[in-house]
């Protein structure tokens, strides 16, 4: 068997829900069980955000920026706010900086717990999935209590934060942190001792130190390969210059390493939040920022739960930005993906994809999916079917003859429920 090329099979994975519940297509060429070639197709989630940002004022953009990503919404708005505050030459109050750090670390906790759950689900360890998501719920409730919303917190504004943390909130957070600390210590024990978990995760999705540097990996993926790359330490923003931060690294370079880094980071986040609550300075939480931002450009970066997040803002002196470009962390981690997949087994592909914690909506931002002329269209069943038939016919497929009995049944079911 010198030539295996005739045994190759190409299988498509996705675009619907390849690993996480998000779209992305992976065309894998298999030789037996081994992946020899991977073609990654992304771009299903383009919403035209960057164009839309250019037609709204800086204040309106606050809420648009938050909706780049549901999981790491706070880190995007921190990067955006601090760039504009710096362009205007405004120094925000210390208390606001501390509150930003507290919310950022709570967000990191909930993002990493979400990842832990998803990763556990991908490897068939659903008990851990349930546990992690149950614990995540406590963090989300806490965020809702502090900011008013479970996701898209809306706590940042230009010049500070919009909601204060009082003693009662601080007490509640500490109570929850105690429970979380016990739980996360248990997960750490699990990840370091449980033989099945280690056997499943070790040597999957390998990305060693040199490759991580070459492909520009960021965040936990880079730190799991032994690169101490953490913006909180490199370029302390908000209150991170006063708060002690330990950068967690690991030298496994595989999914096990990424799990360990994330679990240890959660413990680190807990100690950061405790420090911030104990040393929360008194005073104002809001400074005044002018509506018109002076002309200039600014590059601002933050450490999102998934890695380094870079915002570029160009202002022409009006109250509407000239150009905003967001480099989300997932965008950097995609480049190493192909390298990780090739040479691995098909069964390892979902967990290898999930292990970089990809956020498709972060990666894709720039395209119009809907025309923005103010009208929305509603398809009924028939219209939707006609659209799909036309779509397929344009691509050389004729599905018009296929009868769908489902439609009739669907109406009957609906009638029954109405009665």
């Amino acid at each position: 068997m010198s030539d295996n090329s005739s045994n190759r099979i190409v299988i498509p994975l996705g675009p619907q829900h390849p690993a996480l519940k998000e779209p992305g297509s992976f065309t894998l060429t298999l030789e037996g069980e081994k992946v020899v070639n991977a073609v990654i197709g992304i771009g299903y989630n383009h919403r035209g955000l960057e164009k839309a940002l250019e037609s709204r004022t800086y204040i309106q953009n606050l809420y648009m920026i938050e909706r780049i990503c549901g999981i790491c919404s706070h880190t995007h708005s921190v990067a955006y706010c601090q760039a504009i505050e710096e362009m205007c030459g405004v120094e925000i109050p210390m208390r606001a900086k501390y509150i930003r750090v507290i919310i950022a670390e709570l967000e990191r906790l909930h993002s990493h717990l979400l990842w832990l759950g998803v990763a556990a689900h991908e490897i068939g360890f659903d008990t851990l999935f349930m546990y992690a998501w149950r614990d995540r719920e406590m963090v989300l409730d806490m965020l809702a209590e502090l900011c008013g919303n479970r996701v898209n917190y809306g706590i940042n504004t230009l010049g500070g934060v919009r909601r204060d943390i009082d003693d009662n909130d601080a007490h509640e957070i500490k109570k929850i942190l105690r429970v979380l600390h016990n739980q996360i210590s248990y997960y750490l024990e699990l990840a370091t001792n449980e033989p099945t978990l280690i056997a499943r995760l070790a040597d999957v999705g390998k990305l060693n130190h040199d490759d991580a540097l070459k492909f520009g990996a960021v965040g936990p993926v880079a730190r799991a390969a032994g690169i101490a790359n953490d913006v909180r330490k490199i370029e302390p923003y908000a209150a991170y210059d006063e708060v002690p931060v330990n950068v967690i690294t690991d030298d496994h370079g595989d999914v096990l390493g990424r799990t360990l880094v994330r679990v240890k980071e959660m413990l680190e986040s807990i100690s950061i939040i405790r420090y911030c609550l104990d040393n929360l300075p008194a005073g104002e939480i809001l400074a005044k920022v002018p509506r018109k931002v002076p002309a200039g450009e600014m590059i601002s970066r933050t450490e999102a739960p998934r890695g380094e997040n870079i915002h570029y803002i160009n202002s022409d002196g009006s109250d509407i930005p000239y150009r905003i470009r967001v480099r989300a962390p997932s965008e950097a981690n995609w480049h190493g993906m192909k390298h990780m997949l090739e040479g691995s087994f098909l069964a390892d592909v979902p967990i290898a994809i999930a292990a970089i914690d990809p956020c498709y909506s972060c990666t894709d931002r720039a395209i119009f999916v809907n025309s923005d002329n103010g009208e929305s269209r509603l398809y009924d069943w028939k219209g939707l079917r006609e659209y799909s038939i036309k779509w397929h016919r344009d691509r050389g497929l004729n599905i018009a003859d296929i009868q769908i009995p489902m439609a009739k049944n669907y109406i009957q079911i609906q009638r029954k429920t109405n009665d």
């Binding site: 709204r56 004022t57 204040i59 309106q60 953009n61 606050l62 809420y63 648009m64 149950r134 409730d141 809702a144 209590e145 502090l146 900011c147 008013g148 919303n149 809306g154 504004t157 919009r162 909601r163 024990e189 699990l190 001792n193 449980e194």
Partner: protein, 121 residues
């Protein structure tokens, strides 16, 4: 990992049998809405000066102030589109006269989309 307590699973089973569900029984039960929850906006026309800052800052253009009185004797009403509102409460922060305020009202679902267009006086 070693099993530290042999009867641990059994204990867990028995406690699970008698414990209450983790979820609450909405809508029969009182839901636990956070105190800072951002819900529907309410408007007080008596203090409004019609400056329109709320309209300018609203990210989704869901607010529209209108003067229904005369030029001398102004009277304002607010057209509020619940379907467009993202409940960010930026208008509440922006309002110089505090005519707008947030409530914790969140049960806003309706079967008729015209219910979502409100006129607040």
């Amino acid at each position: 990992m070693k099993i530290r307590l042999p009867g641990r699973i059994l204990m867990k089973m028995l406690t699970t049998l008698v414990s209450k569900p983790a979820t609450n029984t909405n809508p029969y039960d009182a839901t636990n809405i956070p105190s800072k929850y951002r819900g529907r906006i309410v408007y007080d026309s008596s203090t409004c000066i019609g400056c329109g800052i709320c309209m300018r800052d609203c990210p989704t253009k869901s607010l529209r102030v209108e003067n229904i009185g005369t030029k001398e004797n102004k009277k304002f009403i607010m057209h509020y589109s619940l379907g467009r509102c993202i409940f960010c409460c930026q208008c509440v922060d922006s309002c110089p006269k505090k005519s707008l305020s947030q409530t914790r009202d969140f049960l806003l679902a309706t079967t008729d989309s015209s219910d979502l267009e409100e006129i607040m006086r």
